[in-house]
């Protein structure tokens, strides 16, 4: 039905509505909740329509990388659990899982929203490592934007545990937050035929030609981009998609304040 599904989707788009009745630049209903995991230093639970993602942050002290002895570290991991989609299988991370986590990682890293210098405790010896783990609970399309929003909200929710210079006491939480600056927002724009859409559902993801994920700051600075899908994009397409994602990012940014 893949070819026919695409035709049905295009038929709807021609009339100006999406397959599920949304407008082209409309997100599904978004719900966010933070601090849902007690054992994590920070956490967030994000729902975009039926897509559901849980993100958790763990902090630990590690030796900094030799090339950046006075900086902290960050790692983003995402595992596509069979729980989320019958097509996901357990085992080593798939290409898709690695792509999603790396795009989210790049968005956060290149926006420089975490002040890495402030995460250093002792030069060359001790630095905070920020582990961002994202687990999809249900995949109904657009895991990337949901995961990225969850990761950012979880970072914002994080409180540092007590550290006496030797050991971390995870049970004692201080009021200190992570040193965060301007927060990025990732928005994925999909191209189907001649149409551009925001927040593709799983049907649309099956039928899309190409998609572009754009991470941006609220002043319009682009932090990271990633193109996926098997069809090429023209320069004109990319410019249109960036404009569209910047507009859509404003709608997502609201949730940074809410949670």
């Amino acid at each position: 039905m893949n070819k026919e599904l695409r035709e049905s989707i295009l038929k709807s788009l021609k009339e100006g509505i999406r397959f599920d009745g949304r407008k082209l630049d409309e997100f599904r209903k978004i719900e966010v909740e933070t601090g849902s995991i007690n054992t994590a230093e920070g956490s967030a639970h994000v729902k975009i329509g039926n897509t559901e993602v849980l993100a958790g942050i763990k902090l630990q002290i590690e030796e900094p990388y030799p090339d950046t002895p006075d900086e902290g570290m960050m790692m983003v991991g995402m595992e596509l659990l069979p729980l989320a989609n019958p097509e996901f299988e357990s085992g080593p991370p798939t290409e898709e899982a690695i792509e999603i986590s790396r795009v989210i990682d790049r968005g956060i890293r290149e926006s420089k929203c975490i002040d890495m210098k402030k995460l250093n405790v002792k030069k060359g010896e001790k630095s905070w490592a920020v582990m961002v783990d994202i687990a999809p609970i249900n995949d109904a399309g657009n895991l990337l934007d949901a995961g990225s929003l969850a990761a950012i909200l979880a970072l914002k929710n994080t409180t540092m545990p007590e550290f006496d210079g030797e050991k971390i006491d995870y049970k004692k939480k201080t009021s200190k937050k992570l040193p965060l600056g301007k927060l990025p927002v990732s928005v994925t724009i999909a191209k189907i035929g001649d149409y551009f859409i925001v927040d593709p559902s799983s049907e649309e993801e099956e039928a899309l030609d190409a998609k572009l994920t754009v991470a941006s700051l609220d002043d319009g600075t682009l932090c990271a981009m990633q193109k996926a899908g098997y069809k090429p994009l023209s320069e004109d397409d990319i410019m249109k998609m960036i404009d569209m994602s910047l507009k859509a990012a404003k709608k997502l940014r609201v949730y940074h304040e809410k949670a």
């Binding site: 039905m1 893949n2 026919e4 599904l5 035709e7 049905s8 038929k11 709807s12 009339e15 509505i17 397959f19 599920d20 009745g21």
Partner: protein, 228 residues
């Protein structure tokens, strides 16, 4: 002495004792264990004379002979096609049940149905090992082109169809869509994009409000008020 433990229309969970003694007989979704009759599914108790059956409130589709089901082609092998019928078991559509064309040995079967296609079939046989055979010979059976597939809870299917198809005919009439409801909980809808969305919305509403009496009138009202 036989006695009833659960009352009519009580909600029971699997393993719950409904009746004690040999005077009662287990019906669909109930079974006998020693002297007791126990529930096999979560659902409502229905007592019809001596027979006790359970109307399930949830659960996946269980294939039954003569059911019309919508299936998705998931595999092609030498003798025909394998279908996902939204159940724990897959169904087999053999070549001779699919078409009356003469198919030469080694012919490419994808010219009839390819993987991912949706078809509407009737179950001809279910063995005790739950091997399901389906046929495409009969009126209204065949490949589904265009439109969309909607998945609903299989136990809500009778509600969506209504008495003698009253509910589904009402939706068809008011939305100008072609609709086929498979007993396995898959629904095929074809119409203009806006009409399709209207039909999807209506079916979702029926699914949600399945327990409310006088639902047909409510749906009628809903379809008429939203027409403008």
């Amino acid at each position: 002495m036989s006695e009833l433990i659960a009352k009519e229309r009580d909600v029971v969970i699997p393993g719950e004792i409904i009746a004690k003694g040999m005077d009662y007989l287990p019906g669909i979704n109930a079974s006998r264990q020693g002297e007791n009759i126990i529930a096999n599914r979560t659902g409502l108790v229905e007592i019809n004379g001596r027979v006790i059956k359970i109307i399930p409130l949830s659960g996946r589709y269980m294939p039954k002979e003569k059911d019309r089901v919508i299936g998705k082609i998931i595999d092609i092998n030498l003798g025909g096609w394998r279908l996902d019928i939204n159940s724990a078991y897959t169904a087999m559509l053999s070549m001779k049940e699919a078409t009356s064309d003469f198919i030469t040995k080694g012919a490419d079967l994808t010219q009839y149905f390819d993987i991912g296609d949706y078809v509407i079939t009737r179950i001809t046989q279910v063995t005790s090992q739950k091997l399901v055979d389906v046929s495409m010979k009969g009126p209204g059976l065949g490949k589904l082109k265009n439109g969309r597939i909607l998945s609903i809870k299989p136990n809500k299917v009778p509600r969506v169809i209504g008495k003698q198809g009253s509910m589904v005919n009402l939706i068809k009439e008011k939305t100008n869509c072609k609709i086929v409801v498979g007993q396995n909980g898959l629904v095929w809808i074809q119409g203009s994009p806006k009409d399709e969305l209207k039909a999807v919305e209506t079916i979702r509403m029926i699914e949600e409000k399945a327990h409310i009496p006088g639902l047909t009138d409510k749906i009628k009202e809903f379809l008429e008020t939203n027409k403008q």
